[in-house]
Symmetry: C2
Subunit: 328 residues, 2 copies
């Protein structure tokens, strides 16, 4: 697996990037998983998917690994900035089995923590070079706009196209950027950069729609939350946008009433069951799976077209196979 | 006044920087004062002090104005990023007579708005050049650490040295950066850069301690809030840190009890009156004013030592006189 190969390089870089004696820097180390809540060393890291992609693509295209390393660190730190602020916004108290930063330190300090993570990220982006820094900032801009769209979607119905436009920003922007940063470290031309961005975008869509399917039909014990949990929290995910396009009459009215209800209470059990039944009746799960397959197949085709070293191309194919095969 | 001279240049740049059709960008334009809450044009801008300093120093040292303009925009946008997040952290619902972003759009979207403001700021920092971008990021890092210190001070007693270390970060970092960015646009050497940073730091301390004095002894009608308002909200400002160093026995115990009480309720009127009486008895106001004078005098001396064009040096002296003379 790609992430394993570059793991130590990335972790060394993160340790250096987040060193320092202030409380805020200790909070960043906790968030990223290199210490527990008491400041003792731990190894609770995430998948480190994005920086591994940067390094693999740079290596596979014969790029400058020192530059790619700075860019990879910057991207992983940007990703973690977004998680810290996202957890505040969603009021999520747990991430990967650990208390979130705001749940421990309050909203005010968690805002600071995310802000500092982004600032440190950009210092590494600038160290990688102006083209890298600019690509990163464009991706962060798109991601934040996606985050804002997602919030706006909480208050109204969403078409499949609107949903995809949001996913391309919120999830796709950083994945596209990962591939672009690898390409920039190799000095490739605009055509290849565009292919690389498209590859990241395809993986982003495939990944997110699959995530949405798991959020409704995922096996509770594996996913770690009850079936239909995305319905309970009224998440306007792909299946709901797809169903909205198909239904009419009473079904449309009831679906709208369930999804546009205001307030913090979750959707009642009988409504959750009804939504699942409706989605099943409309064949939305199969439609979603076809979309997932299409996007991942497109990604595989692009990998075949890129002038990548063959063993790195194979690693990227395995990475996609791993994402497709996941059950949580 | 310096800010007036560069006003149109800065405003043109801000309008360009914040253009765009998304809801989030409209929120940024509202925050910065170029539109009202309904999106109609308005002119509710702030003082634009920091970008004016960048441009004045660059011009006064014979620097590249196009580079300085990018850096000045970046700094003003960074300042506004910090205000948007600061208002969430302090739960302030009004700024300069207008509703704050979080008060209108909620915390989640206000976090996004600040994040995007910082991202757009850094795009301009990168456009100015790598040295500018690095100086900006170091200043933002220091400012956020200062913000974190200020939060930590809410829960414990603070010495004058700790207070000054916080002010040098929270207020001083961006002011130092303003002078540095002007110097960088003129390609000055490290010695001059250090003098410029020190000049900004002196103005930061003078400005903040004066602000703290106004927060306790300012004339209510002019300051726009009742006398002693900083005491009511338990702000650990300069006078309180200075008093802590002087008092002992019963006075120390009562001051500690008032300032370290937890909870959202303000300090009761009779305690506010007692704190003011204690501060007056300790001569803290005069001590604070001596500090303000010292820092502003140090700033004036540095202006005299710098190789600045004489008319720009005069403008900077007027700027300091304006800050010293303010009553709110």
């Amino acid at each position: 697996m790609i992430a394993d190969r570059y793991r130590e390089t990335i972790l060394d870089g993160l340790r250096e990037a987040l060193a320092g004696k202030t409380r805020l820097r200790a909070i960043l180390r906790y968030h990223i998983g290199m210490s527990d809540a008491d400041g003792n060393p731990s190894e609770a890291y995430g998948k480190l998917l994005r920086p591994a992609i940067v390094l693999a693509v740079a290596e596979g295209l014969g790029g400058d690994i020192a530059v790619a390393r700075e860019a990879a660190l910057a991207l992983e730190l940007v990703h973690n900035f977004s998680l810290i602020h996202d957890d505040i916004q969603d009021r999520d108290e747990v991430r990967r089995g650990r208390a979130t930063v705001w749940a421990i330190h309050g909203i005010a300090e968690a805002i600071n923590a995310g802000d500092l993570m982004l600032t440190i990220a950009m210092a590494h982006g600038v160290a990688a070079g102006p083209a890298h820094a600019t690509a990163l900032l464009e991706a962060v801009d798109r991601m934040i706009e996606g985050q804002s769209l997602d919030l706006q979607f909480e208050r109204r119905s969403v078409t499949v196209d609107e949903y995809l436009a949001m996913v391309d920003r919120k999830t796709g922007a950083l994945l596209s950027c990962a591939f672009q940063l690898g390409g920039l470290a190799a000095g490739v031309g605009d055509d290849v950069l565009e292919q690389l961005a498209g590859l990241g975008g395809s993986i982003g869509r495939g990944f997110q729609i699959q995530d949405d399917l798991l959020g409704i039909w995922g096996v509770g014990d594996v996913v770690g939350k009850p079936q239909g949990s995305d319905i309970r929290r009224r998440k306007k995910s792909f299946p709901i946008a797809a169903a909205h396009a198909e239904v009419s009459g009473d079904d449309a009215a009831r679906l709208g009433a369930i999804y546009n209800a205001q307030g913090d209470e979750g959707v009642p059990d009988q409504d959750v069951a009804w939504v699942i039944e409706l989605l099943n009746r409309q064949g939305v799960r199969a439609q979603g799976q076809r979309n997932v397959d299409e996007h991942f197949e497109a990604a595989l085709r692009t990998i075949g077209e890129l002038p990548l070293d063959s063993s790195i191309a194979e690693d990227l194919r395995s990475l996609i196979a791993g994402l497709r095969g996941r059950e949580k």
